[in-house]
Amino acid sequence: MSISFDELNNVQLDVLKEIGNIGAGNAVTALAKMINKKVDMAVPKARILGFDKVSQILGGEEILVVGILLSISGDLSGNMMFILDINAARQLVNILLDDNKLTSLEFSDFELSALKEIGNILTASYLNALAGLTNLKIMPSVPQLAIDMAGAILSVPAIEFGKVGDSVLYIETEFSEGVTKVFGDFLLIPDVDSYEILLKALGVIE
């Protein structure tokens, strides 16, 4: 049986979107704990987009972005990505290091590893929420980070989605600490056979 985001009905889509919302909420709570500050989050927007529109996710194919990718294994296999534009990444590092004055878009090794750790915590808590809701065992790998053009970074999840369909599911999140707003997107990329496992575990298919 082949299932892709192109063919899901509205109920199935709504469930996946809701999972995204809960996952992103969990991720932001984890971030707040990590920096020991109050972090507000707008209601995340979950969307299904065709490849032709993928670049709109962050405002154009050539926008400089930070992508954090990890693979998942266990009952569910696939990949997970957290992606944010370079300015948002700088703000996130500043929040973490408690320094608002840094503006450079070049990151030191220390800042890069801080960024990777943020990505790790955000994605892991997203996956924890998913695991809790589905009762599935989901184990994340060590995350990898890349900074490049949005189109190039997004090609990695897009290719995975491409194996089953012509669209991607992503969750747009916006969170803020004080006056600093940070936008980022989560992409959950189940392997071909994991869609069915996921939807079955959620009780939306027989």
């Binding site: 890349a146 189109g151 290719i159 491409g162």
Partner: protein, 162 residues
């Protein structure tokens, strides 16, 4: 008057007659297959995502796969006046954006896209005159109809001309 600029998206292809420039932005693990007939001055560009249509469960979009995209692009170019035996190819992209230690399927996809594109071109007897594939960085490419040059722009790895 400026030349016509055509944009090719992800899993998309396009072809045109001189004068024009065809571009695709932010190629990562996908491969840009640029074809050119220097006599008819017809150019074609495909942004392929996956190596082979036969392994896919959904292969409705021919532009998504190296094997089917190249065939379609050649057909389109012939309709515009190009001759198969004059067409040459240039390749760019096929990068590995993330450095995972295990060589999983996902990680080698860029390399496999480049290999599949070359195999299909060889099978169709289209010579690959130059390529800039691999690496770990994204590329924006521009194919010009006046001389078939392929400009490759990157963030941090400079500009190249094929």
């Amino acid at each position: 008057m400026g030349i016509e600029i055509l944009k090719v998206g992800m899993a998309d292809l396009n072809s045109a007659r001189h004068p024009c420039m065809i571009t695709t932005l932010g190629l990562g693990s996908c491969v840009g297959v640029a074809l050119y007939d220097s006599v008819a001055k017809v150019v074609g560009l495909a942004h392929v995502m996956l190596p082979c249509s036969e392994q896919a469960r959904n292969n409705n979009n021919v532009a998504k796969f190296a094997d089917t995209a190249i065939i379609k692009l050649l057909e389109d170019m012939v309709k515009l006046g190009a001759k198969r035996e004059r067409i040459v190819a240039k390749l760019a992209g096929g990068a590995q954006m993330f450095a995972f230690s295990q060589s999983s399927d996902l990680m080698r996809i860029g390399y496999r896209n480049a290999v599949a594109s070359k195999e299909k071109l060889q099978e169709l007897k289209i010579p690959v005159v130059s390529e800039d594939t691999g690496g770990n960085y994204g590329r924006t490419i521009e194919l010009y109809s006046d001389d078939g040059r392929l400009m490759i722009k990157t963030i941090g790895s400079g500009v190249k001309q094929l």
